[in-house]
Each structure stands twice: as C-alpha cells, then as structure tokens.
C-alpha cells in the first residue's frame, strides 16, 4: 500500500509557499480571479429518477471561503461528493489547480489535496486525538515495525501552532466536545496535506460560541493559503463567513454572489424560489390552565451522577416554553422523564393536575402528550417500515385506526396521505420505506404525525433539525397555530433564533439545572450564548437565586 507520507517538510513547504501567494494577491474577494483552486464546469449528476446536479458551475478561488448554499436536496452534497471522488458525474469537468482531474475514489481526491469533513465526524471515539489524526497515514519507524508516535505528536504540535489550535493530542476523542472534535477533523485533513477543505454543514452540531470559533479557524486557514468550501442551508453563516456564495436550487446553480452585495431576504428568495418570511409572527395569546408541571425533578445517569436536578417547570395551555442549552446539559434526560421514557430519580411530574410520575409511556400518549424526539432515526421512525406503518406509531391502539385488535389499514393510509400532503413530504410515496427519505422529509413526517394526534401537550425537541428554511417556516407556523388552539408546548432547541423567536418564556439549561428563566425578548443572542456556556449575565433581570422557577408567575403572554 502506498502511503502519501505527510512529512513535516512537506507541510512546511506548503504553508511557506502559500503565505507568499496570499500576500501577492491582496484583494481576493469579489472578482472572478485567475487563480482558481477548484473549478467545476458543467457538472451533471443523475440518480435514478432524479437529476441531482444539472449543469452546475462552481469556481472557487484559492485562499477563499466559499459557501455552497441551498435547501435540503438542492444537490449541494452531491456536488461536493463529485469533487471528492465519491460520485462519477455524467457530464462536466473537475479542474483542480488548473489541471483537469478524474477522481475514481476519495483516495485520488485526497492525493490531489482535497479533504472533506463530513457532517457526521469520521472519528474513532475510543482512540486518542493523535491516533485519529494519523489514522491511515501513520508514519512508522524501525522499518515499519512501529508507529512513530513522537513524529505524529511533533507534527500535530506544529499544525496546532501554525493554525492556533488548542487540542491535546493525548485526549480521547469521546471526552471532547463536538467543537473540538471538529477541530480534530480539520487537523486530520491538514495532516494529510489538504489544500482544499470541504465542510459539510459544519455548524449543524455546534454551539453559538463554537460557531464563532469555527469562523476564526476558517479565517486562519485561508490566511495561510488554504481554500475552504462549506455546505450550508443557513443564511447567516453564508453571509457571515464566506467570501463568495454559490446558491443551488433543485440541482441547478442560481448564481454566485459576494456576501456584501446581498442580504438575507435576497438569498432566501434565490434559495427557495419564492419570497420567504424570515421573522416569525408570534401574536399575543392568552394562556390557560397549567398543563404540565414538574417539581424538583432529578435524573441520574448510569454512573449515579445527577444529570438533571431540581427542575421546576410549569407549562400552560397556549404557551410555548423554550429550553435552550448546549447539547448534553440534561435536556435529553429531562425530556425523557417528562415523556415517560425514563423514570425520574426524584421529583414529581403532573399533567393537567394529575400526578403522572409513574404513568407508562402509553398512558401518557393516550392522555394527549405528543413528542417529537431528538433523534429521528432512533426514536422517531422505524426505518425499514413504510410511511403508512410509521404514521400510526403511538396511535396503533387508538379507536380511529384500530378496532377489535385489528388495524384498519385503509383509514391509516388515508391518514398517511393527509400527512404527506399537509406536511409536504417528498417524494409523496406512502409505500416507500422511511429510510429512503432525506432527513428533512423524515422530520416533516414525524412532526406531522405528532401534531395531528390532537395533543394537549407537545414536547418538541429540535423540531427543525436538518430541515430547510421553507419547511422550517411551515413547522414554525404549525407550532404557533397549535399554540393559538391552546396546546401547551415545550420547545427544546439549540438554535437560538428559533427558541428566541417562538418561545413565550425561555429557560436556559446548564449542567442539569435551569440557570435562568427569562423573557426571550429581553435578552440578546450573545447573552443567551453566554448563559448556555454557564456564565451568569447580570442584566438579564433574574439572577441565579430564583433559577429553576419557571413558576406560574412567569406566564406573561405577548
């Protein structure tokens, strides 16, 4: 097996050479320059029944950050997979560094200096950072008899110094935060001598602070002559971080713009193909009686450590209570306790005035509790089932669909067709397996199923995760509609703009506790970010003393 030895000298030369490059060029944005790192020319890629890319052009300048913007299924990832050698295009040329290339496999692309960081990190959790970075490219000593760990450590140190990373090479990956893991992925690509780095939805899993850090990293990378292409469907990211934005819609390129010559509305319109309302219109609603009420709820994890403690939460009919927080601060466990997927170790949960702490999951569903789970693959759908079967998960015993222990499949099919129609699930094929749909469409289907259950309480965790703006707008509208109808809603999300815009009250969760409960309109996104990172912000009104009391007194409507 031939291994492209990522020697120290190799990397140093690259960096030295490219520093000169950037200095020479000076201004690099705005103009269609001569120095293209990547040029995709008229790429067409077809899948059975779909044209994923239709004659797409992409010109990426060396040393720039280029955003590839588009909705789910617009063909962004397909285009990048063509560049990365995973797909063979039906037509078009791939030009890297001025030379036309045909990549048969990712290895060819890697050899040509192209690196891709997938949405799901390709890291071995139980290995150390150094082992992961070197995996597949380990320098050896003693005639290949041993991995040269000193050299790996040295090279990582060099890379960290050069790009200003602070990563401990000896740390085990599973102990690292997602943001740091992403940095490990970037280091892994740099270790291999990558010049063009493709990032697939890099911010999907990051906290706001981590996103800022990522922007800094991107700046540092381009300052040293590396080229970055990142895939996103978030407008802010494209306008904030990119030097140029190429928009894809339905597999076609809608154009390339410079961020300073456009705005969010314009981008959204190009992306979706129609005008989009970016601001959510939350009209004041009067709240009713308390639907969900928890007192002093605590949950321990398998090791006996408290992951949720002392949670008091009241949610009234007709209001949305948002729970913001960085993933892994106990939101998942709290929601599991409320929905009946886990027994709390302390405290009580009441539903419409009745203590339901010991109720089974089924009883809670029957009582009108809807739940959009965090992980749609694990809890939301049965992947090998078709949509008809998936549509009655949880209501398989409801008299509407089942009589005398038999399921009325005709009624279920009608129900499924309604869901597909109302929630715009594409392709509209009720008989297709859940696994054959894209993440966004799976999510729309789950949201539809849970919303149409006629619930009095909706627990929505990350309801728009992986969903494009068009569908996000729709899901938000439906949430507000339910709120108007007097449904109590708990909304867990790590998207700050989402919780802020939709919630009537907002609880910030950190290390298992509510550290602040606030009016979402009275707090800035920065303050919210700091709270999520565990820092108190004095001017947000309420202090730490009454943290955790999302009491009935807080039920102000707006």
């Amino acid at each position: 097996m031939t291994k492209p030895g990522p020697g120290t000298t190799d990397g140093a030369e690259l960096a030295a050479g490219s520093e000169v490059d950037t200095a020479d060029r000076g201004t690099r944005t705005g103009e269609t320059g001569t120095d293209l790192a990547v040029h995709l020319d008229g790429i067409t890629k077809r899948f059975p029944g779909v044209v994923a890319n239709d004659d797409v052009d992409l010109r990426v300048e060396r040393g720039s950050v280029h955003a590839l913007l588009g909705e789910n299924g617009a063909g962004k990832t397909t285009l990048m997979n063509v560049l990365y050698g995973l797909y063979e295009p039906e037509a078009g040329r791939v030009v890297v560094d001025g030379t036309e290339r045909g990549f048969g496999s990712p290895q060819d692309a890697i050899d040509a200096g192209i690196g891709m960081i997938h949405q799901h990190f390709m890291l071995v959790d139980s290995m150390t950072v150094a082992e992961n970075i070197a995996l597949g490219n380990e320098p050896t000593k003693w005639f290949g008899m041993a991995v040269d760990r000193e050299q790996i450590a040295r090279e990582i140190d060099d890379l960290c110094d050069r790009y200003g990373f602070d990563v401990d090479p000896e740390a085990t990956v599973e102990d690292l935060s997602v943001g740091v893991q992403q940095r490990v992925e970037i280091l892994k690509a740099l270790f291999r001598g990558t010049d063009v780095l493709i990032l697939d939805e890099p911010t999907a899993v990051l906290t706001p602070q981590e996103v800022e850090d990522l922007y800094d990293v991107l700046d540092e990378l381009t300052a040293q002559g590396k080229t970055v292409i990142f895939i996103t469907h978030k407008l802010e990211e494209a306008t904030h971080a990119a030097d140029a934005i190429t928009i894809l819609r339905d597999g076609e390129s809608v154009g390339t713009v410079a961020p300073e010559r456009t705005d969010r509305e314009d981008l959204a319109e190009r992306m979706v193909g129609r005008e989009v309302l970016l601001e959510v219109d939350a009209d004041p609603v009067t709240t009713g009686k308390v639907v969900l009420s928890t007192r002093n709820v605590a949950v321990e994890d398998a090791r006996g450590v408290d992951v949720v403690s002392g949670i008091d939460l009241d949610v009234r009919a007709g209001e949305i209570v948002g729970i913001a927080g960085v993933d892994g601060n106990g939101q998942a466990e709290l929601i599991e306790a409320i929905t009946g997927l886990r027994t709390p170790d302390a405290g009580t949960i009441a539903y419409e005035g009745t203590d339901i702490t010991d109720w089974s999951r089924r009883r809670r569903i029957d009582a009108g509790m809807s739940y959009i789970p965090e992980d749609r693959h694990e809890r939301g759908l049965v992947m090998p089932f078709d949509l008809v079967e998936n549509s009655i998960l949880g209501s398989q015993r409801s008299p509407e669909f089942a009589a005398d222990g038999r399921i009325d499949w005709t009624a279920v099919r009608d129900h499924t067709d309604d869901l597909i129609d109302t929630y715009d699930v594409r392709p509209p094929d009720a008989d297709a397996d859940a696994s054959s749909f894209s993440g966004g469409n799976q999510q729309k289907f789950i949201v539809g199923r849970e919303f149409e259950r006629d619930p009095s309480l909706v627990i929505a965790t990350y309801p728009t995760r992986g969903v494009d703006i068009g569908s996000t707008e729709f899901i938000h509208d439906r949430l507000l509609e339910l709120r108007r109808e007097g449904v109590a809603i708990v909304l867990v999300s790590s998207k700050l703009d989402e919780v802020q815009a939709l919630s009537d009250r907002l609880a910030v969760m950190y290390e298992g506790e509510f550290i602040d409960v606030t009016d979402p309109d009275a707090i800035t996104e920065e303050e919210l970010g700091l709270l999520m990172a565990g820092q108190q912000v004095d001017e947000t009104g309420k202090g730490a003393s009454d943290a955790g009391t999302v009491g009935t007194n807080g039920g102000e409507s707006r």
Binding site: M1, L86, P106, Q107, I110, M116, H118, M122, L123, V124, D125, S126, M127, E131, N132, A134, L135, G136, N137, E138, T140, G144, M145, A146, V147, K188, G304
Partner: protein
Amino acid sequence: MRKRFRRTREFIGRHPRAASLSAVAIVLAFLWATPASWQTSTLRLAVPIALAAIGGIFAEKSGVINIGIEGLLIVSAFSSIIAVYWLGDGGATMGVSNLWWGLLVGILVSVLFALIFAIVCIEFKADQIIAGLAIWLISLGLAPFASRIVFGSPNTASVARFGSVTVPGLSEIPIVGYLLFDTEPQVYLMLAGTLAGWYLLSRTTFGRWVVASGENPKALDTAGVDVRKVRYAAVLLSGVFAGLGGAGFALGTLGTFAGGGDTAINGRGFIAIATYLLANYHPVGAVLSSFLFAGLNSLQTALQSAGYAIPTELIRTIPHMSVIVVLVLVGRTRLPDAAGDHYESGED
C-alpha cells in the same frame, strides 16, 4: 460494590507505579507459596486458552466476532497429531523434527478454517455468530470423523510430545526461572505470542487499523484504508494464534487427540472468549486471566487425584460465571462499537 471497584481503578490510574509494584509483589508471593508442579501444569494448560484468546482479540477488535475459535482449536489439535503420525513419530523431515512440521500443519489448517469463516462473514455477510457456531460444529464433527477413518476410533493414536527445553543461566533465576525458562516449546510460544500480540495491537500501524476497523470502520475507510483487507488479516491472524494454541496443546501436553464428546479441547475456545472479555481485550490481561482458569483446572485435577472429587462440570462454569460477575461489578468490558456489523464501503 461497583463504587469500590471504581475507587480501586482510580487509585491504579493515579499511582501506576505503586499499582504495578504491588501486582509484582502479589505474583511473587503467590509463586513462593504454591507448589511448582501445580504452576508448571497451569502454564501448560493455559497454552490453548491464552493463544486462542489473543487470536480472538484480533478478530473481535477488527469487528468480526470469531466465536468459532473453539473449532479452530479442535481442527488444529487434530491435524497436528495426524500430521506427526503420518510423517513418522519421533522422526525428522528435512532436518526438522516432525513435531514442528505437525505444529505448522496445525496452524495452516486452522488458518484455512479461519479463511472460510472470513469469506463467509466478510464476502457473503453471513451473521458472524451463526457462521462461528457453524465452524465449531463442523470441526466438532469433522475431526472425530476423520479420526474414525484413519484410526477406526474417534481417538487418535498417541504420538511423541515436545520435551522440555532449558535455557541455560536464565533458568537459575530464583522463583520464576524454572517456570519461564525450563519448560516446553509451546509455553515459550505462548509467552512470545503474548508479547507479539500486545505489541502488534498497540504499537503498529496494523494494530491501529484493526482497532479503528472494529470501532468505526467508516472512519478507517475515509482515511483510505481498505476495511475488508484489515478484517481479513485480523481473522486470519486469529487462525494463526488459535492454530498455535491448538497444535501446541496437542503436541506438547496431550500427545493424542480424543474426539469423543466435546473432544480434547473441551470448551477451551469458549473459555478463551471469556478470558479476553474479562480482560477487556487486553492481550496481556487475557493471558493472565487464562492462567487463572488454567490454574483452577489444574487445581481441580490435583484435588481429584488427592481424593477430593470436585465435579469438572462445576469447575468449567467458573470462567463464564466470573465474566458475568466482572461485567456486573466492574462493568468495564466494552465491545468494539462495530463488532458484529458488516461493512460495505460507500454505503450510508
């Protein structure tokens, strides 16, 4: 109870030197206090378990659970005996003792069976547990059947065994010398195999790839390493180690192959699986826990000859029981994430 184990582990983590010193002290005191004949017999009985365990570690670490390791021990033990029988008992071929040729044949046959297992699991994506059981059941039937054709009985004829080899000088070291340097070739092979296995897994490129292949094959694939090749190599390696264990046990300790019932191997391959689970896939730990089980086995034999009859069946449950106890109390054994899963490049 679990908390106490955690505290012990934390202590070991904080004071690695103190922990290893006290471990050495315990071992020395133990060696001083127990009879030499029992120690020697323990080492010899540990050979098939320890080597099969190391082989099993490689296969399972790469993501292929080789539950057929018992079958590999059976075929290698049988084929080594029959090879020596055919080549001529006590003779030599091309200047090398026929016993060594027997050992080689045992390893090759074991590797052949491992190859079949690998093809079935990796190429045809059979369920690993079912394929592994098939390898065991086929071996369990095939070895006595072949023996019946050659010898007219499920038990083979007896052949000569490996003799002791004394390393001059080193064998004079007090307490451990007679044990480690005045013993039979298969014991030396076991000790060397332990070190080689540990080194290969933890220090070489191949070892890193094996671990990655079992934990997150997709990560290894995107890093440009062929997961299939790594898994083939790991499974074949498990065949080498198991073959060494089975043939070494047959030629060094038994001198014959009894094909009745559970055969002469008698579940040692399954005990090997228990040992490496107990040691959380650490080769050295697996070998040490195989000493524990071999020691109990040898103790039971000794007690039996002294007139205290402890049923063998009961003794044989100990390894499996202790795995359960350890899993419950220590909870440290962690299967590789992708163990048992098929991997197809390019699939999402």
